[in-house]
């Protein structure tokens, strides 16, 4: 593999909830253009770590750097404009708006005419085109005019993913994009994520519980456990790591990669 630049770096990132160190002194580097998986048992601190990266939570101590720029204290609404998008483990959409409108709002944020208040939104051609493209790509075309709340759970997960694809960010932070999806729908979604990542040279940070998926798609894996980094390496290295085996994978995953 070619040498890649670091796009995201955390330095001693720590987050306490009361006395609980949900993220404890995490220093990692994420290479641009790679798919970097973060795994770990429930409660390991993966979502909290994401919240620190995306600005949803302020760290107790430590810093996050993006392309060398300190992200600490940047308002949440700046993130997508800097090139960082995130999706949520618990679906976070506009339930009463249509699928189309959900995606359109995500894409509209990247336009520069958000304060033209006599313009007809339906005539923002580039935005409409992008919306139609993304709706089609995540496979929701036939449901485009339905309110998001009536979609099945799996389709809401696709919508959630569509809302991060629409603005086309450089970095995609995906928190269990397949959470709660029917097993047969998972490969389709993972393939889509891989396509987006590879064709656009994107950086994807992926939290995922399905070990088969993680082992097959990741360039690099970070294993978290009780807020700390337990191990880091390529899928093969992680699979061979004795500590990871006992602490986390122990018996749950067949390590014949």
């Amino acid at each position: 593999m070619t040498v890649r630049e670091t796009i995201i770096e955390t330095q001693n990132l720590t987050k306490y909830f009361g006395a609980l160190a949900a993220v404890d002194d995490v220093s990692i580097k994420i290479q641009a253009g790679t798919l970097h998986a973060i795994i770990g048992p429930n409660g390991a601190g993966k979502t909290t770590f994401f919240n620190l990266l995306s600005g949803n939570l302020k760290p107790t101590s430590g810093k996050v750097f993006y392309k060398g720029m300190d992200l600490t204290g940047k308002p949440i609404h700046r993130m997508i404009h800097l090139g960082i998008g995130r999706s949520f483990q618990i679906t976070n959409i506009f339930p009463n708006l249509t699928v189309h409108e959900n995606i359109r709002l995500a894409s509209q944020a990247m336009e520069d005419n958000n304060f033209h208040f006599l313009m007809d939104t339906a005539k923002m051609d580039r935005c409409e085109e992008r919306t139609a493209e993304v709706v089609e790509r995540v496979g929701l075309k036939s449901q485009s005019l339905l309110p998001a709340r009536v979609l099945s759970h799996g389709d809401q997960r696709k919508l959630e993913l569509g809302m991060i694809l629409a603005p086309d960010p450089e970095v995609l932070l995906l928190d269990e994009p397949t959470a709660g999806m029917a097993t047969e729908q998972v490969p389709e979604l993972i393939t889509l994520i891989q396509e987006v990542q590879q064709s656009g040279e994107k950086t994807v940070v992926l939290v995922e519980h399905n070990m088969n998926v993680v082992m097959s798609v990741s360039d690099k894996i970070t294993v978290m456990h009780q807020g700390k980094v337990l191990a880091e390496g390529t899928p093969a290295e992680i699979a061979a790591n004795h500590e990871v085996q006992t602490a986390y994978l122990g018996g749950l995953y067949d390590l014949k990669v």
Partner: protein
């Protein structure tokens, strides 16, 4: 999703309303035997009375419209909304009476004050959310109500008696030029409504709806939601101020009751009756509210307020989407119904 239908077809409802309302005084004149020329000269007494009722409804509708933009579209429930209306009304009265300012100067002053007030309310917007905003806005408006009512202000505001005898410029005198006043109020209402419709369909308006639905998500999509809320606050305040100014010009006296919570609740009720977030519901609701109030008072005197209160409670419980909201939902179901029926009748080819 291109929508190429013209301005006329898209706004058919409000344009018909505009035409009917313009003709109404003349049609009513025919009933009482006044010729259109007499109506034009402000002579028919029944039509003049109806024009007066119309003006009151248009003012209420403007106020309710501004409330719906904040509450129904953007999800900001302000319990201090009456202040936007009352400040404009009092300022108009004081500027005309005590300061003897020229009319257009007064208009400018009132609109400026509306913007300043909106910014004042906006100071708290980034910090508070939901019910806290509601309470803070109530607090701000209560301070204003207390100031208006205080006896130290008696020379300016008339304290609890109200501001009496505002000298209204002759060209819009509600007594001698009532038809003109009526047409101006109607035109302002229709123009504001058309502007609001466009606004809600604009990129800015769509973000406001997103803020109502899920503000945190809107932020994470990349919108600085505070700025959008400030913009809406300013538009809403300017509209409420227009209504307040018309109120001061139309009424012979300005009562402090327009500055209290009760008047904000009137705005809320109108929007609830008409349909929250529908915009046209503000107009429909203002008609329903004012006409019901008028009829009941006519037949039952002061005890009517009890009955109106009860009617509203029942209405809000049983027609939660309001008049316009309910009609829209029925349309959603009846349209495909009719199509299905036609499909059965029409021969297949």
């Amino acid at each position: 999703m291109k929508n190429n239908s013209s301005f006329l077809t898209k706004n058919r409802g409000i344009l018909i309303f505009f035409a009917v309302m313009l003709l109404a005084p003349f049609l009513i004149g025919l009933f009482e035997g006044s010729t259109p020329l007499m109506i034009w000269g402000n002579q028919g007494s029944l039509s003049k009375f109806i024009e007066g009722l119309g003006i009151e409804i248009f003012i209420l509708a403007l106020f309710a419209l501004s409330f719906d933009l904040l509450f129904g579209i953007t999800g900001l429930l302000s319990f201090g909304h009456a202040m936007f209306f009352a400040v404009a009304a009092y300022l108009t009265g004081i500027a005309l009476k005590t300061l003897a300012m020229p009319f257009w100067g007064v208009v400018l002053l009132v609109l400026l004050a509306a913007i300043v007030q909106a910014l004042l309310f906006s100071l708290v917007l980034p910090r508070v959310k939901g019910i806290t905003f509601t309470l803070v806005s109530l607090g701000l408006a209560s301070v204003f109500h207390i100031i208006v009512m205080s006896s130290d202000m008696i020379n300016l505001t008339g304290a609890d008696v109200g501001l009496q005898g505002v000298p209204v410029p002759a060209f819009i005198s509600p007594v001698t030029e009532r038809l003109r006043f009526y047409v101006i109020a109607l035109t302002l209402l229709v123009a504001t409504y058309l502007f609001y419709r466009r606004f809600v369909a604009s990129p800015t308006g769509r973000v406001c709806v997103a803020i109502r639905e899920n503000e945190d998500r809107a932020k994470m999509l990349g919108y600085n939601t505070t700025i959008f809320k400030v913009v809406v606050m300013i538009i809403s305040s300017l509209t409420a101020a227009t209504a307040g100014m018309l109120h001061a010009l139309y009424q012979p006296s300005i009562s402090p009751s327009i500055a209290d919570l009760g008047f904000t609740v009137t705005g809320l009720l109108i929007v609830l009756i008409g349909g929250v977030g529908t915009l046209s519901g503000a107009i429909v609701g203002a008609f329903a509210f004012r006409l019901l109030d008028f009829t009941l008072r006519r037949f039952m005197g002061e005890s009517a307020s009890f009955i109106t209160g009860a009617i509203y409670v029942i209405f809000v419980l049983f027609v939660p989407y309001g008049i316009v909201g309910t009609i829209r939902m029925r349309q959603l179901r009846t349209k495909p119904g009719w199509q299905r029926l036609l499909g059965m009748v029409k021969p297949k080819n």
